[in-house]
Every structure is written in structure tokens, then in C-alpha cells.
Symmetry: C3
Subunit: 310 residues, 3 copies
Amino acid sequence: MWKNRDVISILDFSREDLEYLFEAADKIYEYLISSSVPRLLEGKVVSLAFFEPSTRTRLSFEVAAKRLGAITIGFSGEEGISVAKGESFADTIRMLDAYSDLIIVRHRYEGAALYAAEIAKVPVINAGDGKQHHPTQAMIDLYTVKRLYGHIDGLVYGVLGDLRYSRAASSFILALTRFSPEKLYLISPKLLRAREEVKMVLRQAGIVFEEVESLEEVIHELDVLYVVRIQRERFPDPQEYEKVKGSYRVTLSLLEKRAKPTLKILHPLPKVDEVEPRVDNSRFAAYFYQAKLGIPLRMALLALILRGEV
Amino acid sequence: MWKNRDVISILDFSREDLEYLFEAADKIYEYLISSSVPRLLEGKVVSLAFFEPSTRTRLSFEVAAKRLGAITIGFSGEEGISVAKGESFADTIRMLDAYSDLIIVRHRYEGAALYAAEIAKVPVINAGDGKQHHPTQAMIDLYTVKRLYGHIDGLVYGVLGDLRYSRAASSFILALTRFSPEKLYLISPKLLRAREEVKMVLRQAGIVFEEVESLEEVIHELDVLYVVRIQRERFPDPQEYEKVKGSYRVTLSLLEKRAKPTLKILHPLPKVDEVEPRVDNSRFAAYFYQAKLGIPLRMALLALILRGEV
Amino acid sequence: MWKNRDVISILDFSREDLEYLFEAADKIYEYLISSSVPRLLEGKVVSLAFFEPSTRTRLSFEVAAKRLGAITIGFSGEEGISVAKGESFADTIRMLDAYSDLIIVRHRYEGAALYAAEIAKVPVINAGDGKQHHPTQAMIDLYTVKRLYGHIDGLVYGVLGDLRYSRAASSFILALTRFSPEKLYLISPKLLRAREEVKMVLRQAGIVFEEVESLEEVIHELDVLYVVRIQRERFPDPQEYEKVKGSYRVTLSLLEKRAKPTLKILHPLPKVDEVEPRVDNSRFAAYFYQAKLGIPLRMALLALILRGEV
């Protein structure tokens, strides 16, 4: 079911796939708590091919692989950018294919991970490419909801921020189509609305959703609020960025006045200024817990792909 | 005594703490000699958060952690600098707190390690911040004296160089207050004299010290000469740097003419031109031995903090 | 025979040395196939001192060391360049000597690896320095021929490309003098002909060789075609580079029309445009297999040097 599978888009995975993954992650979670993690990936080599910088996602995958006994190699940061400029992408992937058992790719261009998967004989995991796909982030996000509420169905979700260019936001929205949310609010300035192709998938899946411009209108209804930052580097036009930056902010006073006391805020991190720092220590903030869950989830993912089981 | 402890300033540690640490380092030293190092930190994750570049300190910690079976993750060099520019320092520390069992921080600003320790639930080690604190370097320095002379008390020390901006020099001077040196000479050009707050700690500890401008005057009295380079990047004003650069140099001919034959020279490295290269192969040079002792000392430190024992 | 040996130039090794190495690599190859690699280098620390960027060679050595249970530390990319600018090369090597059991050096200047070997007490491996020496690449190249043909003697070789500045090409040509090729064609534009000192070694070894300018003339005779790219950064004069870039290209149609059906093409990679991408999937291309063989060959090398046996 999972063995040797590529992970390119969250849409490649069924509800059953994801539930199986979450159970595996629960098992790993217990191993971590009891400091008894088996070296399931002893002798395996995992390549981290980060053609675009990302400290956070890279470190999370690195811990996940190493905690299971795998070896990691790769490049990131400036080195990743210069690799991207030099020899052909295809040859770089072929090199990693020759050296390793699995390749994790991050790239600024849409489709890079899929192309890598076509070239490589070993499985490829998309750690974020282009503006739409970041499937392992979406898996972590749903897993966090699962651990917080015990279930993903039947909740009211809000996704706030740059729904146009944020791949974390798109992937999370698409991931919800595998479950049955009560309702989904897409909350953003007009310029940053979700893309038509994303909304089409929502409609096809029969998800009840609504686009609104202000968090204030809907905050009282939400069980889960997913916030993403505005990323300057995703904007083709800097002028467009200037128009929208700082256009939304989640404050503690709003939450205390209007939100359900059980509301949980998720965020793929890093945050910039879209969430007031005072929120960090409130009961609403679930994003550091979410970051922590990235480890068992990615460990489960690597183990399922490389061994077929946990 | 050591379990889960933060390491922020050398002044946080008593003579007893340090002697306990040195004994643990001796034990590790024996393990290394006999190639029988136990994997005391199997399953532990150590984060290296180097917001300021430092190849040497980073590699030393990395070897120390890995030799005990720990996993290391982190960032350094250009990547560290760009992390420092991006999201909030607090959020970066929280991410590492979620991913690891201990965080080693290096930062150009004073107080960064302490702030990290306040944020993180896991222990934090200061690998150098600002102009004053580099506690693990001071531990290595004292441990080197201990291994060379069998004791730290009763010796005549000279500290030569940029006593104003070098955190290695300040930390070493402060560390001596935990012991009973016979005498301490602070040797530097006038512009680079030790800060008043450092001298106050010396006075409170009852350390007999004297400020002099020339090594020639005192070299014949010294048992230990600690040399630091002048670091351009610590100077707020480049003009000030120009005035003092190259203002002192330890030459072999001076040592052979005037120093005790048993004098040992320590240096936190890297050297630039403050020690003549010919000194490297003389009986006076102890700085490569000192670098080597960084490994068992830091191994002992990590093991004591993460396990409470060696 | 191999224990504690430095690896500076391919000319330091006899035919017997190389055959012993290839047998060790065969043994490691079997371990890799059966996923039963012994941790021969448990507790050893291998330093990667890449003063010049090289993703491919670095990753290959890193996998090799880690698959045998060694710890790796080091620097590369921008960090390596800035290390090269800072403290003296000698001090950097002394630091790594204090921290590790073996040092792998890559440097843009001829002689850097030899100098490192003179300074360090631990063995040093040259991972490429200057324009002439890249001995481990030559070992991989010969080993690839050995695995493809069962023997290295008696074949007709062509080496195509920048024979003047490519250290991979020079090292391969020099390596052939340890065996008995039937004939060797040196194929290059006039400006990029092999250096006189290389040809002198060929003559002394009694290798029958001929310099030609066009692949078309000799392609039908070849059993092995070794191709190297033109590297802009090796040219002292950019004008000279402009004159020769793109001056040769191996196309599939030429191969299909004129080459022996058994011809194998080797390339140290990365490729730029000197081999048409369509060749990659043809029966002629052996370069990805060659890259893959880099792992067992380098594993064997590390094990022989650090343990004396596999």
C-alpha cells in the first residue's frame, strides 16, 4: 500500500492511505515517548535535495531519517541553489538515485518532484515544489487535527492568509477533501484568494466552503484555524506583494473575545507577523505541537515507503 | 549536579562543578585512547544553532556528540546568518526545542544563549555569544592546564591580546576566579584592555592581577600564556581596529631567550599572525593539544547534561 | 600495503595496489547488494575538507564513510571557500588532524593535498587538487572498466575533451600507465591538448598513444570512450575558454553509425553539453553505473587505509 511509493501531491492519497499513515505515526510517537525507537532504516541512505532553502523542513526530515538509523546526505541553502544552476536537474537526480534509497526534493518550480520521480528508480518525496504542493506538510497538519480532536471529520475549518501562492495552504485545503469537514472558510484578501483549480477540487469533493475577507466574521464558528504567512518570494510582482503585506493578523484579544475556547490554531511555520506573539503561549496555539508531530509523521512515512511497515 | 543544566556563562559553575567535569573528561579521554567509547547518547538529538559562522567550534561539538552516538542537526555559515535574518529568534529556538534534546547556540549578540535557555525546555549550551561568554572554551582551557600541570592553582598566568572584545579571553579570565592562580597578568595594548566588569569579578574573587602593555616585561614569570587574536568583526569602529592590528606578536626568539622552559602557550584558535608559525613546533606550543582536548571535554559535558553521568 | 597510506596521486600506486583495491571493492559491492555491510569503521571520524565546492565527490565520500559506520564532519561550498580565506591552511589541517582519523581534501591549488599530508599525522586522501590530480576518480574509472570488461588490459581507449585543464582526464590517462591498453587516443581541440608532463609519463610507460582532433576519425576503434567537460573555472584566461567551449559533442547518431556496439562511454560527471542527453539511455552510456561504483570503491579505499583490510 505504501512500499516504494512516490509522494508528489496530497491528492495521490486516499482517506485509507492517510489513516494507515496516522496509525503508523501513533506507533512511532509511542516509541519516541518511551525512547525505544527501533533502527528500522539501518543501512538505508536518504538524500535531501533542497534546491530551494528551507531550514525547518530539512531539519525535520533529517531528524526523522536519522532517528530510524538511516544515513542522510544532500545539499541545501546556497549550495542547493548553485547545484540548481549547474548541471542538469535530471543528472543531479540520477546521481542521487545512484547513491541513495530515497530522494526528498524541494524546488521552487512546480512539477520538479514529479519529474524527479520519473527519472529516479528509488522513491521520491516532494518536500514542497512550486505554489501548490507540499504533501508531507498537509499530512502533518491533518495528523495534528487528528491528535487534537481525535477525528478530522465534522469540524469547522478556516484557512487564513495567502491562499493564492502558499503551497502549505493549498495542500491543506486539498487534503481536507479526503475527509468530511462540516464547513471550510477560505479567508483572505481578494488578491490572495485560492486558485480556481483548488476550488474545483473542493466542489468535486462536495466540500461546503465559503470565501470571506475577514477573520472577524467567522472566527466564532471555527474549530481549527490554519494560518499561513505571505511569502514575498512567491510573488511574481513585488508591487502586488506590497499591496497585501500585513493585511491580516490574528490577535489574542480577538481570540479571547470571539473564538470558541476550544479553537486550535495551526501554522506551518515560520511565522512572521500574521500571528501576534502573545498568542504563542495561549491555549489556542497548536503550531509548536504541530511542528513536533512532524517528526513521528515523517518517520512513519519514511518507514512505510522504505519497508512497507512500521 | 549537571543533569539538564544550561551552560550560559562560566560564572554559573563552581570549582566543584568544574573538577567533576574534568574527571568525567579524563574518563572519556581513556575511552578515546582505547577506542572503546560507549554510545551514551544513542537516540539523543543535539541541535547546532550557529547563527554566527564558526567552523572550529561547530566541528568540535559535532564530533563530540556523534562519537557518543547522538544525532546532530542544525545550521551554520551562510545558512545560519540567513536564519538569523528571517523568522524570530524565539521561533527558531522553539522549532529546535521541538526537534531535539539539547541546543547549542552561537550568536553575535550578547545574551542570545540566555534568551534561548529561557525559551527552550531542553538544555541550552552557549557556544559563544557577544563579546564576553564562551564558557565551553574556558572549560577546555582550564582542562588543558590541568592535564599539562596536574593542577590549576598556584601558577602564574598571562593573557595576551584583545582583552576587550575577545570572548575567549574574557571567559578564560573569569574562569580563573574559580581557582587560585598565583598571579594573573593582563597583557594588551591600552585600547584593548579588559573591561571593568571583568576586572571587578577578579577583585571580588581576590585574584592578584596586574595590567601591563608588553609581553617582554613579564614573560619570564609565566607558567601559562593564553593568546587571543584580534577579531576585526568584533570592533564597532573599523578605525579603532586599524590602530591596534598587529600590535603584538609572540616570537620564538623571545620565548627562547626569556621564557621559562616549561612555559605553555594556549590559544583558542584560529591564529592569524599573533603567534609566529615557528612557535608551532616548539615545546612551548600547547594549542593543538588544547584543540584535541576539546573533544573529550565536550563529550563529557554533553553526557553529564543529557544523562547526569559518564 | 594500504594501511595508513596517503592518496595523493594515482602514480603513487602500482598495478598490484590497484588490483588489491578492486578486489576489496568487489567484496564491498557484494555486501551492498545483500544489504549486509559490516560497520568496519565504527568509531572512526572522517573529515571532509572541501576548500573548493563539489557536491558530487563530497556526497560520494560521505555515503562511503557513513555506510561503514564512520562519523563524518567537515565543510564545503561557501563555507569551505571562506575557511580557505581565513586562518592558514596548515592550521585548518592541524585542527582536523586533532579531530579525526582521516582527512579528505579538495582544493583548487595543485599540491594542497600533498602539503596537507605532510602536516597531518592521520592519512590524507586527495579528492581533487589543481589541474592534474584526482586519484580516487581514476580508481573508480578503472574499476568501472574492470567490471564492464572483466579486464583493463588490451582495450582501445579514447579520452575526449579538455585534456589540458581537466584533472579527471589527466588522472585517468596517468592511471592507464599501470596497465597495458592496446592503444590510447587523446582526442581534443589543439588548445586543450594533454600537457607535456602527462605525455612524458605515457612514453616512459611505453603506452602507444596518438593525439587526434576529431572523435569521428577514431570512434570505430574504441572500446572505452572517456569524456570530460570543459570547466570554465580552470581557465586562467576567459577568452581562451570562449574559443573552445562547445567544440566537441558526442551524439547518439554518431555512436549508432560508427561506434562498436560494445563501446562504453565513461564520464566523471557532471555533464554539461558534451554528451547529447539522448545518449544517456543508450547501451553506450556507462557513466551512471560508474557513479554508482564510486560508492563501493571509496568504501574499500577507506577501509583499507583505516583498517588495512576489508
